[in-house]
Symmetry: C2
């Protein structure tokens, strides 16, 4: 089943932050340079001190550039915080810490956007300078903002996630501005040309969710010829990172790979779950998806590449089946 | 002659960068908190990476806050350069280095200016947060840009000064935007209320020059009731810092305290020169200025305060003479 993929297979991955970035990194390692395009959620983007911050784009970019801070789970390795200390001296609450190196990204992005360049162009410039061999594609060039509806009110995503440490019970989500967004031409081209479309193990509500909510995106994915495979962000009833499990629970979904697969019913041809969750295989197959059971926890670069190869082999096997 | 000034004497100082900031610091030490206002050149301001940088305002602010980097002569003590390293990684030429802490100043200033606040308000916010007990007043709230005419063409000031290390022969200066600038109400109030107006030992062409070129500024200084005293930025035929001596020479002026005093003829009531230049006293007196000969080189905080007291005593003595 796990045939070795061609290194030149064109792959489109959909990703949010850390978990998605890890699999994207694995895919990049498994493929020829330039074969991977990552469509990244931008609904977490925020403006802080006048700077345009794209947390998921940056996490993917730093991870694919090999400079991600693995200890923190965000930002750049070896980061320092002198600027944040100075901000505090100026009486500014540094609840969202921007590292000294990381700031260069936000400053240059903000400058280039003000000069009229698109987020897609800006991201290509920055990622190219860092030597990233893959295409990192913001889901859209318009500004979209995730608001998390909680019992404490509608909270901008980073306020919910970072400032309040995702402790508020979630009622729902609003993607402000999404109706006026469109998939970029680069995203549409990538989906059209892909030989496999991979939904990385990202939060289905606030990472993959906004990507799929861009008007025309779901249709473009459905119209694409490639097989579509997702990797569960839930392992053993918990999210490996972030609030995905809490959100599933709060919104009345089953906190399991099955609960996630259900959200993607009709959209995915295959779903990858951890060995720990093998018992869910049959129910997921009943949703009309093939299932691959493998190790999905990525603790090392080797884990990332191995999972990527498993996922690619699985997806390409589905392709042959569909083609048959 | 050097009577001890009242600590509550209201003093307005005109200053550019390092030399001016040092004397302003001396004045601040010699006076009660709040008694000093420093009118600062802003024609060196520049935009780098979309950030509004006010080099002279910052030098004065950091110096008066006691956080200036004495080793470098600019920026903040204990500064680090991780951001600059990252900018270089992004392929950006860091010819104008912005320290990690210093960046907080530029980021917040830029944000507040974009929010519609004036440079005067922004400066008060930042300087207040750093605990500066004096008023730091930009000469105007409009954008003015010093262009240095050289044999290599018209160069923006920081390009001439930092990038090309003031090596180009100077032909003249243009203060772009100056005709549309006006002294701020705060500057006019300060000049009106001052009991002494001190021209700090700053470059007469590119520091004091733009301040005096703001339409209405010279008239406001002339109409102010306070005695006006300048301190020579030239000692022994050389500038203590920067290109003042080269500029005097290139533009056909005498490279001496007399050469500087000549530029201020009709505007100053008194001029302070170094003991080394005592021989120039008589010629400067012939320009209609009283002369104070003292030690003007400021190597320590004690030097700054001692010179400040000398200058204040000299100015207040002139006041009594004028009042008589």
């Amino acid at each position: 089943m796990n045939e070795v993929p061609k290194q030149t297979t064109k792959v489109a991955a959909l990703a949010g932050g850390v978990g998605g970035a890890k699999l994207a990194h694995g895919l990049q390692m498994a493929l020829e340079p330039g074969a991977l395009s990552v469509v990244v959620n931008t609904a977490d983007d925020m403006t802080l001190w006048g700077l345009h911050i794209s947390p998921d784009v940056d996490t993917v970019m730093y991870t694919l550039a090999g400079v991600a801070n693995r200890e923190l789970g965000w930002g750049i390795e070896g980061e320092t915080w002198r600027n944040t200390e100075m901000m505090a001296r100026y009486g500014r609450d540094p609840w969202f810490r921007l590292g000294d190196m990381d700031l260069a990204t936000h400053i240059l992005r903000t400058e280039m956007l003000r000069d009229g360049r698109t987020l897609t162009e800006v991201t290509a410039d920055l990622a190219g300078a860092l030597g990233v061999p893959s295409l990192i594609l913001p889901m859209c060039d318009e500004r979209v903002e995730t608001l998390v509806s909680t019992e404490a009110g509608n909270l901008p995503f980073q306020e919910y996630f970072v400032q309040r440490r995702h402790a508020d019970r979630v009622i729902g989500f609003t993607f402000r501005g999404i109706v006026d967004s469109v998939p970029t031409p680069q995203v549409l081209d990538t989906l059209e040309a892909a030989e496999a479309i991979i939904f990385c193990p990202s939060n289905p509500f606030v990472s993959t969710g906004p990507i799929l909510a861009v008007p025309g995106m779901r249709e473009a994915i459905e119209a694409a010829p490639a097989p579509r495979v997702g990797v569960s962000p839930i392992v053993g009833g918990a999210a490996l990172k972030g609030p995905a499990a809490d959100m599933l629970d709060a919104l009345g979904h089953e906190v399991s790979p099955y609960g996630v697969a259900l959200l993607y019913r009709g959209l995915l041809d295959g779903f990858v779950i951890d060995r720990e969750d093998e018992a869910h295989s049959e129910r997921i197959r009943e949703l009309g998806m093939e299932v691959l059971v493998t190790g999905t926890v990525m603790k090392s670069d080797e884990d990332r590449e191995r999972l990527a190869r498993d996922v690619l082999g699985f997806a390409l096997g589905l392709k042959e089946r569909r083609g048959a």
